[in-house]
């Protein structure tokens, strides 16, 4: 092919230790590995073996765009980082998506992605301009907050550069540190900021003057009009009088101003709520910042997200008439439900979420918390769903009586939270240093029984009007906090949904629900709802969700537009429009299976992943009741795991994929390597 469509053709291997760059043709990997996370999985499998720790120079940061990035196909601006996550417990290979303009700029500079290796001798940043990669000193940037770093880089290189940077949290190896674009998009889930810090890498700054060429321009334009039905209507700045999770809003004195912006280059949506003129944590000057998803609870966390019914918030069980995207919810663009839907009555059965009483609504304090996370470069989930609720609950249960954080523990106090974040980010004192290790590790050092498993007595279900147990530490598998899992935050989903989200989490290495929200059809729901753990449909929907997540991080597209259950070949159409390579839904699914298998193989080879390990990792959180008082039994859960493994082509005893499964997806070499290591299940007679 004379002209390359979609891809730009080069992956740069960048070695920070000896400051060298070499080029790998993207065609070494595509189209077999599609792009994005699929390529990253392949590279990691090939290049990083067992025994490497997150902060070792041998750990790599793999960054990949997709073939749709910068083609004009909506959501293609989303891209992916992978690495060994210091924020997972144990440290494991994980990934994190990111929006912004950075990925497009990388392609304009002539690269489909990078493999960053080694460790720089001193603070360094990469300056990439049209195929040229320079290692520059970051001495003058080290210590700067996220936005100051972004501004300084623009001052040095011009306003048209695009950067991803870390803040002080990443420099100080705070395990949940993030990497941030100029528009507050973050890769936060895999502790990437800390991996940057461990490599003395402060930022990557790019300017690209090149082009990206999509194969089918009329199709690109068609997708712009069709994907997620963009509203194509004026969106003025709105003066809001209230703020909070829809259905639980509280008045804001004087009101506030809201606008909506797109998260990534070339998207046709505006999911991010831009809060204008907000209080800053670092000065008198007001700032604009983005609220997306979890940051909403910074402003007040007295009750959980309301229940909407099986088709309610998040739209888990969908019909053709009633399915909408989470991003539409955040951009406050959801149309009222279609009442002509024959299932309407069953789908929408609203009810209040649990009373939690973590902290009262305080608009200014909420703004300060979000600003602290943005500027230090730290994952908001860990702060808002784990650290602060833990302090709130633990204080009420008296577990911190012996602990001196240098100030009285009080999550209602802005001053306390500023102090807390300061001691963590700069690792001040014993407890600052300990909490910088992340919640999962800190709690184990303190003693999990008391500091993790103590029951909070302030949770009250309004579904069954009863006090229900909740542990003070909202931990789920792999050192992450709960997310759409039936307890804690966004817990108001019933068992047929939360067994599925917990299964997603079980096979992951990080919080999955930010990247693969669970979806299924309402018709399946009616079949599986009475015994979801014994229905093959539950496992089938989880597998679909996992594969779609691989696809969306590879093509690339966005978790908030994909999957569309009623347009299943959307991603195949996107891929084909970008690359000109014919692609069907089935073929793309095969590529996703392959990528997923590589991920599974990495976790088996490098981290000893097996059935017992993963079942034991996820089971404990489901022993706390959901808002209806429901839990899952060991037998139920294992029956569901059986169904899942069976459908996946894994051996039920070990949880390891069989040779036949690897070979079916063209991964015989992977099977051979695992067999040599004794990590292939015995062949069935």
């Amino acid at each position: 092919m004379a002209e390359l469509y979609g891809y730009v053709g080069k992956i740069a291997r960048i070695n920070l230790t000896d400051q060298t760059v070499s080029i790998i043709p993207t065609t070494n990997y595509v189209p077999k590995y599609i792009g994005g996370r699929s390529i990253a999985n392949k590279i990691f499998w090939d290049e990083v073996g067992p025994g490497v720790k997150a902060f070792d120079p041998e750990n790599k940061i793999i960054y990949m765009t997709g073939p749709t990035t910068a083609t004009g196909i909506p959501t293609g601006g989303r891209t992916v980082f992978t690495t060994i996550s210091p924020n997972s417990l144990p440290e494991q290979y994980a990934w994190s998506g990111i929006g912004g303009d950075f990925g497009a700029e990388v392609k304009f500079a002539g690269f489909d992605g990078f493999i960053i290796e080694g460790k720089a001798k001193e603070p360094t940043y990469l300056f990439i301009e049209d195929g040229d990669i320079k290692f520059l000193s970051a001495r003058n940037l080290w210590g700067k907050l996220v936005h100051a770093t972004q501004s300084k880089l623009e001052e040095i290189h011009g306003q048209d550069v695009k950067s991803v940077v870390i803040g002080p949290a990443g420099e100080n190896l705070v395990r949940n540190a993030s990497v941030t674009t100029s528009n507050d998009n973050v890769a936060a889930k895999a502790g990437l900021g800390a991996v940057f810090g461990s490599k003395n890498l402060k930022a990557i700054t790019v300017r690209g003057r090149g082009t990206v060429i999509p194969a089918n321009i009329p199709k690109v334009l068609e997708l712009r009009k069709k994907m997620a039905e963009p509203s194509m209507a004026p969106r003025p700045v709105v003066h809001e009088t209230h703020h909070g999770i829809p259905g639980t809003e509280k008045p804001v004195p004087g009101g506030w101003k809201r606008a909506q912006v797109a998260c990534s280059y070339g998207c046709n949506q505006h999911c991010m709520c831009l809060m204008l003129g907000m209080k800053s944590a670092f000065g008198e000057e007001k700032v604009n910042h983005v609220e997306k998803c979890v940051s909403i609870v910074a402003f007040g966390f007295e009750e959980d997200v309301p229940y909407g019914g099986p088709g309610g918030p998040g739209g888990i069980f969908q019909t053709e008439q009633n399915h909408y995207l989470a991003c539409k919810l955040l951009s406050r663009e959801v149309d009222p439900p279609d009442t002509s839907d024959p299932y309407f009555e069953q789908q929408f059965t609203p009810g209040p979420g649990d009373v939690l009483n973590f902290w009262k609504h305080d608009f200014e304090k909420g703004s300060v918390i979000n600003d602290l996370c943005n500027e230090y470069g730290i994952d908001k989930w860990d702060v808002l769903i784990w650290l602060l609720p833990w302090l709130s609950m633990g204080k009420k249960e008296g577990v911190f009586d012996e602990i001196d954080l240098g100030m009285e523990i009080d999550v209602e106090s802005e001053e306390f939270i500023k102090h807390l974040m300061d001691i963590i980010v700069y690792r001040k004192g014993y407890y600052g240093d300990l909490l910088a290790e992340g919640m999962a590790r800190a709690i184990r050092v303190l003693g999990k029984e008391k500091f993790g498993d103590t029951i909070y007595h302030g949770r009250y279900s309004r579904q069954i009007n009863k006090r229900l147990d909740l542990p003070i530490s909202l931990e789920t598998a792999w050192g992450h906090s709960v997310h759409w899992q039936g307890r804690g935050f966004e817990a108001s989903i019933a068992k047929p949904a939360w067994v599925a989200t917990n299964l997603h989490q079980m096979t992951s290495t990080r919080d999955t629900q930010t990247i693969q929200h669970h979806h299924d059809t309402f018709e399946n729901y009616l079949e599986l709802k009475d015994d979801p753990c014994r229905s093959p449909l539950t496992a089938q929907a989880v597998i679909m969700g996992e594969n779609k997540a691989e696809i969306k991080d590879s093509v690339t597209c966005c978790d908030w537009q994909s999957p569309n259950l009623f347009w299943p070949d959307m991603e195949a159409q996107m891929f084909e429009a970008a690359t000109g390579i014919p692609m069907t839904e089935e073929e793309l699914n095969i590529a996703a299976e392959r990528s997923r298998l590589l991920f599974r193989a990495i976790t088996i080879r490098n981290y000893g992943r097996a059935r017992e390990l993963e079942v034991n990792a996820i089971f404990p959180i489901m022993q706390y009741p959901d808002p209806w008082g429901e839990t899952v039994t060991w037998e139920e859960w294992n029956d569901l795991v059986d169904l899942y493994y069976e459908q996946r082509g894994y051996d039920k005893e070990t949880g390891w994929p069989t040779r036949a499964t690897y070979e079916k997806y063209g991964l015989k070499d992977v099977a051979d390597e695992l067999e040599a290591l004794g990590k292939l299940p015995p062949a069935k007679k």
Binding site: H147, N183, T211, V212, M232, Q260, H270, N288
Partner: protein, 163 residues
């Protein structure tokens, strides 16, 4: 915005951005992207005839494009006037790239800051070309940037000099 000296200049119909009270630019870059796609079949900063200036910290974006000045100093400055810089029957100044020699005189002559003409750099001198908004004059659907703006914050000024 730094619209040097020219606030009273006579302008033809041109692309305008709504004030935030009417519609707030989402900063999605779709206008830039579709502009270069429909004209050149590529996506790339140098190929867009419209530019989105995004505030790094503020996330407030400002749109720049040709104001279609009625006295068209860019056209007057072109050494290949009527071959490279051309004027159509409706008074729209457009660039016939085949004849554009990439001398940048039109860019220098643009009275706005930043200049509203884009430029493709190339090692190959014959490939250096100026890019300027032609209001999508040959596109039956009209201006692509307006059509694809997801928040309809772009429009055509109603009449000469208005916004």
């Amino acid at each position: 915005m730094n619209e040097k000296k020219q606030t009273t200049r006579a302008l033809g119909r041109h692309i305008v951005q709504s004030p935030p009270e009417v519609s707030f630019c989402a900063g999605c870059s779709a206008c830039e992207i579709v502009c270069s796609l429909v004209h050149d079949g590529v996506v790339g900063h140098a190929y867009s005839r419209i530019f989105v200036n995004k505030g790094t910290r503020s996330m407030v974006s400002t749109i720049y494009s040709c104001q279609h000045c009625l006295d068209h100093p860019c056209y007057e400055a072109c050494p290949r006037k009527d071959q490279a810089m051309c004027l159509d029957e409706n008074g729209i100044v457009y660039i016939n790239e085949e004849h554009c020699i990439g001398c940048k005189r039109c860019i220098k002559a643009c009275v706005f800051d930043p200049p509203r003409i884009n430029y493709v750099h190339s090692k190959d001198k014959t490939k250096r070309k100026a890019k300027k908004c032609d209001l999508c004059r040959t596109r039956p659907e009209g201006p692509a940037c307006i059509e694809f703006c997801q928040v309809s914050c772009l429009g055509l000024s109603k009449s000469e000099n208005s916004d």
